[in-house]
Symmetry: C2
């Protein structure tokens, strides 16, 4: 993404078309929480964060873009792994500070750990139990294997 940074980069909508972005209640860091839900299985896959540009690009390209708080940069989901999220629907909540995406999860793997979803642990009698198997070794996914 380093070659096309900036608010007026290809794929971003024209300013006059972006009034809907103004209805989002961005937090103090300029971010909104974005839940991705698998359109086929209805499982919640990921919770990530978007800044204004990430949401604009998500809408324009129909592929989920997020703001990586740890890396401090825009991030197209799947840019390294190929596990793109194709966006079928974008919803906003009552007070405008949370988004739900309905997505087609390419490759069937949403989590960097190689699990199908990030929520692979369930609380059982006071312990977090891993209920879902790893689909693919992360070293294979990211080409470090």
């Amino acid at each position: 993404m380093s070659s096309d940074e900036g608010p007026r980069a290809a794929g971003a909508p024209a300013p006059e078309a972006g009034a809907w972005l103004g209805e989002v209640r961005w937090n103090a860091d300029g971010l909104v929480a974005a839940i991705a839900q698998d359109a086929a299985t209805q499982r919640v896959l990921t919770l990530a964060w978007m800044n204004r540009e990430a949401l604009a690009r998500t809408e324009a390209t129909r592929e989920a873009h997020y703001w990586s708080r740890s890396r401090g940069r825009l991030w197209r989901k799947g840019e390294s792994s190929g596990h793109v999220q194709r966006v079928q629907e974008i919803r906003l909540d009552c007070d405008g500070d949370a988004i739900v995406l309905q997505v087609e999860q390419v490759g069937g793997i949403a989590c960097h750990t190689g699990h199908a979803r990030c929520f692979y642990r369930r609380l059982e009698r006071g312990r977090w139990i891993e209920t879902d198997p790893v689909q693919k070794d992360p070293r294979e996914i990211y080409g470090h294997g």
Copy 2:
């Protein structure tokens, strides 16, 4: 909830039983994001925040408790409206900073606006369109009608 505040109140688990709470990665404000998903319809109903006590009580009582950032207090979902969330499952994500609850939404209304879910608006051609009807007038729900 004003009569039973405090970390050792009734319903909170004994400290030795709470090791799982230490695996949650609380943010700088001591909170974790909590998604509630309808166990029957699989719709995402709400995104709210929990502090340590809210999550401990949610586990102990099997009713969703949150931390209200606007009111600055613990909040049992449905304490005013009766629209309690009965918790069937608690999941944690890969990096420990997000929760998914599977809930039975009592009354079928999760949102303070009287909608079944908070995510009642969908983006359509650059506009947020209300796709879901109001189930009940909020003045009726909260007894101000």
